[in-house]
Subunit: 247 residues, 4 copies
């Protein structure tokens, strides 16, 4: 099995090292990741300049672009074969709820999925993440399962792993994305040159964290696995909007 | 009606000037847009540095960040009142099909929607766009309609306008997003310093452009209006993935 | 006389608008400036990506690059004729003493000089600069003087103008660059995501601000004009270093 | 001896690894370098956002800023003691002649010098540089010499090393900077999205490469050592400009 690994924290991040190491047990791993931290990059693509591809001392490749750029470049311009799977992460911090649309970790997997490859995004739910090996092992379990029993449909999985020893995980729950409250307001600051600046604030707290959501699963010690799709059409609103537009 | 206007082509783009001018007929317009071209920015948020807000000679505000940053900063840190509507565009070029997830134009409207504001993204389907006034007028029609008969649910509309005179538009069609074929591969190049670089290639052609899609509507001269939602959960796959994970 | 105008504060800055307007009285002005604030850019050149050139509504051109890139691109790729002069500014804030090496304003003029064009950098010595017309007029006086009596050697002038009415300027002094004390230390901060960051601190105070320096001239109400050269060789140390290396 | 090491090619570059390894034989080495390739950065300082400092697996530190930022942050905010020396490099490619003002490698050393630390910039004169160990050894020879016989004046040395085995170096020459012809024009290109772009062209060929210059020394197989100063005042022109201004 050929596995393409990427992330949004940068090729030097401990989370991707743990992931690549764990996945090497089940497949041939190629790492292509951003040269710098691109957290919050979402699905952004670099269109106004070309990308460079370099190789680090440890064999990882890095690109002066976004997570989406990395997977796009690897699959359409660098690898000889389409990979059998794209795995993105292990992200430092959760990617749950509607916040998922900002995630570069999920975006790297989404790009794999758009290019026809089954893809998984893996995040460690922890602010002070230090040990990524448990989440890497969870990702490897899933990859191995793919190898043994391929899923018949194209699949894009968003996986969030609680920060606890592997033995203490309560199991796996397949979930829907929860909802968050609105984000916190921007935080005003002043630079040493006396200019006003604004930091983007924290994500909102969980608003829908009920049974069945990713928030709920993780809060109860389960690995959350959410199947994602990328069609943003609000099918349920088509009739009402048609009626409204026609009036 | 208070209208917040943004885009992804930058505050200096002719498309946003046309939009702001047209919308001024139906509401009080504030423009907050990126200081430079951020096409392809998707929903990326700037987390590793603070943002600056400046005011151009024509009264437009600009931010050293992404389209999402602009709306986020305007709504949570700059405007005294929540706007009644966010309108993003007029984008130079279509935002249709699954490509929509890369769009910064759509992302600006998405951020408005996430912050509780009815939002519209407007794009002109043209490679050599020169006249944005028709698309701006279409956006203004929709805004005025909101004013007269507010939609009862939160709404996020993705609007694509054919490049023809207003009188020659065939009407409005409410659509679903079509699908594209896979993107073209990256394009290899060599710099004057003899380094290999890669340009992201063109989007794929339309794969599902059948009746009911945005592609189909625009190809037939209609304005396409697609209601969007932002829940990426693939609800239809939850059972199958649960079964697969449990095996 | 053909005059190329650039700066480092960005093409939208009031200082460059004042300068272009004033210089239009003595020559044909073309503005090519950075698309965003590049203060502190020094002589940096963009080598890892290509540059784009755009035209704003007011006729100014802007480039997604540094001040040096702007002048380089204008002179070697855009203008039909070598300009007769490059004028950079009016910068918001002084460019005096050894700090001059960090200045993008001075760098734009330096690039003109390196390409064989007499060049002037103009800065307004003011933290809360609001009126750039006096400094623009001083620059225009110098340009006009060039026109009437060309200087026989290649020349690169660094001009700093006190922030006071034109009539209250004490005159012009030709000066040497003063020296500053070491810069202030970086200033530690914490982001909303709890990461430690460091802002570059303020420039040091004047250390050599004696008679004959730019600091001294400006402090006494004079326009300071410092002729610059770009040979960094420490000729006076060649013998001592030779002796040291040979031991 | 405490040695601060930086560069402009990025902390992952083979040139800095070779340099840090060689210098470890004569002192306690700390590496603080840019997180990505910043060739051409000159003395640019980052003023509009704060800097982050991270630590790579091999112990090197990296900063999301310029070479100047790295040395500035290390000396004024990170290190407990002022280093005894700053060594920058080994750069991939020459830094000779008037091109030196664009160099980020030289800029890192310049920032050390401005902060009161004897500093050396080291470059390998080679387009296809693969072995940086000879240049690293030359830098180490100089550092050791400093340790044994400190230079009595503040010193900033620009060192260029021919690409040949250590035993085949002809010796060391203390030189002045040569002069180059004007740079090549920008090179026009077209993006896949059909936009015109411009690459900065190559540096000009040597114009003054006579006896005594860095070009001449290196061409004859010598290590070139040029003492630099940072006062840009054109002292020799002060009288003529004064006369001209006064007319």
């Amino acid at each position: 099995m050929r596995i393409l690994v990427s992330n949004d924290d940068g090729y030097f991040a401990p989370g991707i090292a743990a992931l690549a190491e764990a996945l090497a047990a089940v497949g041939e791993v190629t790492v292509v990741a951003p040269e710098r931290d691109r957290s919050g990059a979402s699905n952004s693509l670099t269109l106004d300049r070309p990308l460079s591809l370099r190789r680090a001392a440890n064999g990882f490749h890095f690109v002066n672009g976004t997570p989406t750029d990395c997977v796009h470049l690897a699959v359409t311009g660098m690898l000889d074969h389409l990979p059998d799977m794209v795995v993105s992460g292990v992200n430092h911090g959760a990617n749950m709820g509607d916040d998922t649309i900002y995630s570069g970790t999920v975006a790297a997997a989404t790009e794999g999925f758009l290019l026809g490859v089954p893809s998984i995004a893996v995040s460690l739910v922890s602010k002070a993440a230090t040990d990524f090996s448990v989440a890497a092992r969870v990702a490897t379990d899933l990859a191995e399962r793919f190898l043994r029993m391929p899923f018949r449909q194209p699949v894009l999985l968003n996986v969030n792993v609680p920060d606890r020893p592997y033995e203490e995980l309560a199991g796996v729950r397949v979930t829907r994305l929860g909802k968050r409250h609105k984000a916190e307001p921007v935080i005003r600051g002043v630079t040493p040159r006396n200019e006003t600046v604004y930091w983007v604030g924290a994500a909102g707290g969980a608003a829908d964290a009920g049974e069945g959501t990713d928030f709920h699963a993780v809060a109860n010690g389960y690995v959350s696995v959410t199947p994602l799709q990328i069609d943003l059409t609000h099918t349920g609103q088509i009739a009402a909007v048609s009626e409204w537009v026609g009036r």
